[in-house]
Symmetry: C2
Subunit: 260 residues, 2 copies
């Protein structure tokens, strides 16, 4: 039996572990089903800053994985939870899309224009324009608390690289000198601590599984969990040599846990 | 007579020296008319990255200053001239507005999509959207020569601060790690050398006049010209104490040259 199977809980990345966009990764899906069968607690963590948990849940279910909204932590949801814990009912101006707005409202926060906001929440937006960037700039210049859903720079889409949340973070940094006060998504600890809370486990009882060294493995190390890199996504075996952070284990896929 | 009146040429900023947007600054305009009367060579230099010289010329004429297109160097025009000198007929992808495109075409350059470009030309665009930013990102990732019209971060509009070219520069820097290979506008030397060439004078025979220490005065010092800060624009007397660069002279307005 693989030594990681002694652990009680698994924090799983979605993209590159159990699916690629809307397509399932069969070995990854079989791996999750076997973990559940073995009685492990499982939670999915995604840096996605444009979709609500509801949409991510639909996707995971479509892969054939039994799950509920409680089993999913998206950067959108974790951002909303984080702010609601800091300041219940806070007034928020966000650059984000509907998925982020949905989570902010669900957490009891108020969506307001930039002049009235206590928080600036930066998330990616594929409908951004000069007016939205002007509002974000002015909100940032007001000095309000500034939270970013994730630090993702470039998102690899089917027809080529597209800008991530980093477009807005970078623009604001260059114009105002301000970086986010808090970044929620991986490799930040914020979203990982939310995942531990959801599992009800301590870090030493948990494995963090992902396909990106600088995102998933670094995030796992930061909370002191065991880390497993799977090669069904971004990272290739060759990347391990140049990486400054080494995962505790590397396997071809999540399912390989049960064959090694 | 003011010692600067011994110089042969004057490189004048527009905004904050002779006008505020479309409104003339009367003391500034009178100052220019007196310089021309005294036989001085005069050229206007603007960091504006959205307007062609044609539009800036119309504005200057509307202030009552006799001028021709040759007397104006905009960041749009200087960018086009710079690239045309480096590579005649180069293929350019630009983020810019019509004013920049007009100058690029006038200089004999070809406007193409990002896949075919030899140059990425970044200028501000009030109609920017996610698609334009995606194209700029991909062009930048291709590693082509990258020229920015100016480094301006924030533009003070009538209803509050709005993003300058720095929005796009900052976004690309954060996402790709690349800064422009060349910045044309002030405080860069590139636009100032173009102005000297236009005047047909050496830097020691020229005065650079502007309302911003970090933009105009720094640009003047970089080419070794004399510098005059006027207080009809952004800079206030108090700003001089904290400034790391000191202008050679400070006067209430351009016209004050003739009364001191």
């Amino acid at each position: 039996m693989h030594p990681l199977l002694k652990k009680k809980g698994f924090i799983l990345d979605i993209d590159g572990v159990v699916g690629r966009s809307v397509e399932p990764i069969e070995e990854g899906v079989r791996g999750v089903l076997k973990l559940i069968e073995a009685g492990k607690r499982v939670v999915f963590v995604s840096n996605n800053s444009t979709r609500s948990r509801r949409i991510l849940l639909e996707r995971i279910k479509s892969f054939g994985i039994p799950a509920s909204e409680r089993d999913i932590i998206s950067a959108t949801h974790a951002t909303a939870s984080f702010i609601a814990r800091e300041k219940n009912g806070a007034r928020v101006f966000t650059t984000g899309e509907e998925g982020l707005k949905e989570e902010l409202l669900n957490a009891g926060l108020k969506l307001v224009d930039y002049e009235e906001a206590d928080y600036l929440v930066v998330g990616s937006n594929r409908n951004l324009d000069y007016e939205l960037m002007t509002k974000a700039l002015r909100c940032c210049l007001r000095g309000v608390r500034y939270v970013a859903t994730n630090p993702d720079k470039i998102f690899p889409s089917e027809n080529g690289p597209t800008p991530g949340t980093g477009l807005i973070i970078g623009a604001l940094y260059w114009m105002t000198g301000r970086k986010p006060d808090v970044i929620v998504g991986k490799p930040s600890k914020v979203i990982m601590l939310e995942a531990l809370r959801r599992l009800g486990l301590r870090a030493e009882d948990v494995v963090v599984v992902g396909d990106q060294i600088e995102v998933d493995v670094v995030a796992g190390k930061r909370i002191g969990a065991s880390t497993l890199l799977v090669l069904t996504g971004v990272a290739k075996k060759e990347d391990l040599e140049k990486a400054s952070t080494k995962p505790d284990y590397v396997l071809p896929s999540l399912e390989s846990l049960f064959y090694s």
